[in-house]
């Protein structure tokens, strides 16, 4: 208790630290408020556009089903309220997807493409502050915590007076973790609020968020005090800790993702798109269509497509879609496999950086990582196929009459209404543990390793008293 009190008094006396802490808290508060404001605005806009898009689809008027398929729809990626705390990759992925005939599109409108170059310094969001700046503050608060006692000789005096090294160390860790958690307080308050007023879906995610960030703060606190107990001087403790911070928060993530991209390269979009086209629109496709035509004619025992009991063009369009879908599945799954390997490789590097571990878990909890984005695009693609199937099926089944009368078949709102609204909700976070499990394991390993290091640090303090 006395140690805790002393720590508190010392922190208060350190004027510059109080200032710096206040600035960081203020920044965190502002970032949270600004994120919350833009989130609210964005949700209103998204709901509005989803509603208008549905109205446009249903009221598009009478037209051929294939024209409607080309008219397509735009779907909007859903967000979780945790986006406020960690926007993750949302600026780099785009949140609008166009669903249309013959094409599987990538998401549109990545905010980063509308950004100025200063944006590359990073975005002042709560996650950035908590993942990058708070560890630095913990270091600045605690680097001299034990080493200064040693330098001034008070450590030996305290030990001679019967101070229990273990309690002394634990009290220091608690004091430093407490200070760290104080910075986390605005976010925790927001999360508590969202826990109270939201469903269990967000509650699980918020819990994971709170637990992982608390563990992260604890890790940096133990790390700081362990180094402080080993270092001969406060100066060397500070240098060592700053090197660890720079490596963990700035350099290792860069090296890790660069290495992942080198090991599991993805094709450039130019090659990918050109491959898609060259593998879909091939003579083999023409042959497959011709074969399908022959098979269909044989199945119905007729000689010409005009004699079929349905409109051939509808069946042919669907055949074309199915043909293209196979190519999409193959090529996109190759790309997805490489991206997943990159994500896993990056996560494995969390063994060298708790920042990577926390960043991965945090983005997963906030549904702003690549895995959630792909879940959304997969659901979008499923919906696109449903639309094509329904529209082509309708053309096939109902278009014959008009064709016989030499007219173009036109469907109406009854058909458009058959296409359901696109609603997507991400699965529960524990079902997605595959995507952040390695990171969580690394975070636990960091904790275990540092607890072990603490054990040795305490023994070192004990030896000093002998």
């Amino acid at each position: 208790m006395l140690t805790l009190k002393k720590e508190w008094l010392e922190s208060k006396r350190e004027g510059r630290m109080v200032w710096l802490s206040s600035i960081v808290l203020l920044l965190l508060g502002c970032a949270l408020l600004s994120s919350w404001h833009s989130y609210q605005q964005q949700q209103v806009q998204k709901q509005q556009v989803i509603k208008s898009e549905r109205e446009r689809w249903v009221n598009q008027g009478d037209k051929g089903p294939h024209s409607a398929a080309h008219y397509g729809i735009y779907i909007i990626k859903p967000d979780t309220p945790l986006l406020i705390v960690d926007p993750g990759l949302s600026d780099y992925q785009g949140s609008v997807l166009r669903l249309e005939a013959h094409k599987k599109n990538d998401t549109l409108f990545r905010s980063i493409q509308d950004a100025i170059q200063m944006q590359r310094f990073g975005d002042l969001n709560p996650a950035f502050i908590m993942q990058t700046l708070i560890p630095l503050l913990i270091i600045l608060l605690g680097f001299h915590s034990i080493s200064a006692e040693r330098e001034s000789g008070t450590l030996k005096q305290l030990l001679a007076n019967g101070l229990n090294p273990k309690r002394f160390y634990i009290a220091k860790v608690l004091a430093l973790t407490g200070s760290g958690l104080l910075f986390f307080a605005p976010v925790v308050l927001y999360l508590m609020y969202s826990l109270l007023f939201s469903d269990s879906f967000s509650a699980d995610r918020s819990t994971l968020f709170i637990v992982s960030y608390s563990a992260y703060i604890f890790i940096w606190s133990i790390l700081t005090l362990s180094v402080s107990s080993y270092a001969k001087t406060s100066r060397s403790a500070l240098i060592i800790l700053l090197v660890i911070w720079a490596l963990a928060c700035l350099l290792v993530p860069k090296f890790a993702i660069e290495d992942a991209a080198q090991r599991y390269p993805t094709q450039s979009s130019q090659v990918f798109q050109s491959k898609l086209e060259s593998e879909i629109y091939t003579p083999a496709r023409q042959q497959a269509i011709a074969q399908f035509k022959q098979d269909t004619l044989a199945e119905y025992g007729v000689d010409k497509v005009d004699e079929l009991p349905f409109l051939w063009s509808g069946a042919q369009l669907q055949f074309g879609e199915n043909y293209a879908n196979k190519v999409f599945d193959r090529l996109y799954s190759q790309r997805r496999k490489q991206l997943k390997a990159q994500s896993f490789h990056y996560q494995n590097s969390a063994i060298f950086s708790p920042f990577i571990a926390l960043q991965t878990i945090s983005m997963s909890a906030a549904a702003t990582d690549l895995a959630h984005h792909q879940l959304f695009t997969n659901a979008g693609e499923k919906h696109r196929r449903l639309i094509q199937n329904t529209l082509n099926g309708d053309l096939k089944d109902n278009g014959l009459q008009s064709s016989k009368q030499n007219q173009r078949y036109q469907a109406d709102h009854h058909l458009w209404e058959k296409i359901p609204d696109f609603h997507y909700q991400y699965p529960g976070i524990y079902q997605l543990s595959e995507h952040y499990g390695r990171a969580a394991l690394c975070l636990i390993l960091w904790l275990a390793a540092l607890v072990l290091l603490s054990h040795f640090a305490i023994r070192r303090i004990e030896r000093e008293g002998q």
Partner: protein, 503 residues
């Protein structure tokens, strides 16, 4: 005296193992940063070469198949026919607009990883292609590459702080300073000599490696660009040295100096740029891209609904495309719905709709552009609040991977897009009027594309951008101010220490 101090300092430094570790780190990071820069340049060049190859292949394949197509009576859809203007214009054209990296591109990846550097062009509305992008793991974009710009902006100051923070203060703490002052040495001279020597062991390897890489691997790079790069690095390093001198001049302990310098680094390199960026973005809020989608759909629907009005406007804007025999019929006002228009094909209508949609969306696009320009203008004005933002702007511009060159590229792409559209629209109208698209009932369209090499091709015209010498000047001015302040404080220290020595 100076050579004595230098000799003594070099001897001291030789003994410091940590310092040599920092030199090794500098060398390794410099090599890695340059390597990453050149890797990225070579990856971009490979994509551009692949695009050009694909474009060339399409031209050659079409030339080789021309005779066969001429003699063939096999039914072919126009949208599958590479010899049909409409098929080429809307679906099959392989026409790329690419932005080749500058010789100095390896210095900073800048925004080249998030902004597209190639576009596949078709006769579509610009909204259909302008949002294309290179698909990579988005995490790689968030984290960014470890390039020379990152190394210089973020890591170089930390390395300089690491070697300089205990200059003078170590001598003061150990009591050597008083002895040295007894021999007539001023703290100012000692500190400045220490800083120069210590900074040299970091800056020299960095410059040596980077300049060698530029000379060896950047074909066509000018000496002026190299000089500018050296100037930026030296001016930025000078700023951090001057700041270190000022902090040290307060005469506190090494640990205190290190803590203050790290907090200053954090403020200048991380907090100020991110806060500044957030403030600029908040002060100039961009319109919503989600709402943009809504507007795009509304405008497209509107254009679809008022087809005859769109056609009237089209022929009013392009009377040369109306059939001369029926030119009188084209004299219509866009405001009046009329069916009294020249005979038009599906393709002409499609092009007219594309033009109308683009025109209707122009105010929305202008709004985004205006906000982006306002943000960039403010970012440039306020960049002087941090040396890191000054250096970022200078290096991004020098590498040609900043916003300015990208904007210039986009302008040229849009202009090429218009050229391509005009190329096709007049030929499509003419072919339609000559009956090339339906020469007889049920037969294929006539060949309307004989040589794809005749289709306008894109060549990026590189605009020479002025080098931001003002950035270097600003850094030098800031450094000068800091050095004057440090000198004043050191003079005070000199007096107080001399008094102490005398006592």
């Amino acid at each position: 005296m100076n050579s004595l101090i230098l000799g003594c300092e070099i001897k001291n430094l030789r003994r410091e193992r940590l310092l040599w570790l920092l030199v090794v780190v500098t060398v390794c990071f410099s090599v890695l940063a340059n390597y990453n820069g050149y890797q990225w340049v070579s990856a971009q060049n490979a994509v551009i070469a692949s695009a050009q190859q694909e474009q060339q292949k399409a031209i050659v394949t079409a030339q080789q198949g021309l005779t066969e197509r001429k003699s063939s009576n096999k039914p072919i859809n126009w949208w599958d026919d590479p010899y049909d203007l409409r098929g080429q214009a809307f679906y099959l054209m392989v026409n790329y607009a690419t932005k080749p990296p500058l010789p100095s591109a390896a210095l900073a990846v800048g925004q080249s990883d998030v902004q597209p550097y190639f576009f596949r062009m078709l006769v579509t509305s610009k909204q259909d292609f302008i949002n294309q992008y290179e698909f990579v793991h988005p995490l790689a974009l968030l984290i960014g590459k470890f390039d020379l710009a990152f190394f210089i902006i973020y890591v170089l100051p930390l390395l300089l702080i690491s070697v300089c923070f205990n200059a003078l203060s170590q001598e003061k703490q150990s009591g050597q300073l008083r002895l040295l002052m007894l021999q007539g040495l001023s703290p100012r001279r000692l500190l400045f000599n220490q800083l120069v020597i210590r900074a040299s062991i970091i800056i020299l390897p960095l410059l040596l490696i980077s300049v060698s890489a530029l000379l060896l691997f950047s074909e066509g790079i000018g000496l002026l660009a190299i000089s500018f790069f050296i100037g930026v690095v030296l001016a930025y390093a000078l700023f951090w040295l001057a700041l270190s001198a000022l902090v040290i001049s307060y005469g506190k302990t090494s640990a205190y100096n290190a803590a203050v310098l790290v907090i200053t680094w954090l403020s200048f390199v991380i907090i100020i740029p991110t806060v500044l960026n957030s403030l600029i973005v908040t002060a100039n809020t961009a319109p919503s891209r989600i709402e943009y989608v809504d507007s795009l759909r509304e405008q497209t629907d509107e254009v679809d609904k008022s087809s005859s009005k769109v056609m009237a406007q089209y022929f009013q804007d392009h009377p040369e495309l109306a059939n001369k025999k029926r030119a009188d019929k084209a004299e219509v006002t866009a405001g009046n719905e009329t069916t009294n228009l020249p005979s038009t094909s599906y393709s002409t209508k499609k092009i007219a709709k594309i033009i109308a949609t683009e025109k209707a969306m122009q105010p929305f696009d202008d709004a985004f552009q205006a906000v982006l320009m306002a943000q960039q203008k403010q970012a440039e004005q306020f960049s002087y609040l941090s040396p890191a933002t000054i250096v970022q702007g200078a290096l991004f511009d020098l590498s040609g991977n900043g916003l300015k060159r990208h904007q210039d590229f986009i302008e040229q792409v849009l202009s090429h897009h218009k050229t391509l559209r005009y190329y096709y629209q007049q030929r499509i109208v003419s072919a339609h009027q000559q009956g090339d698209f339906s020469p007889c009932e049920g037969c294929n369209a006539r060949i309307t594309v004989f040589d794809l090499a005749q289709v306008p091709q894109f060549t990026y015209q590189n605009k020479k951008t002025a080098m931001a010498w003002g950035s270097i000047l600003m850094l030098l001015i800031f450094s000068e101010i800091l050095m004057v302040l440090a000198s004043l404080r050191l003079s005070m220290m000199n007096r107080s220490q001399t008094n102490a020595v005398l006592v």
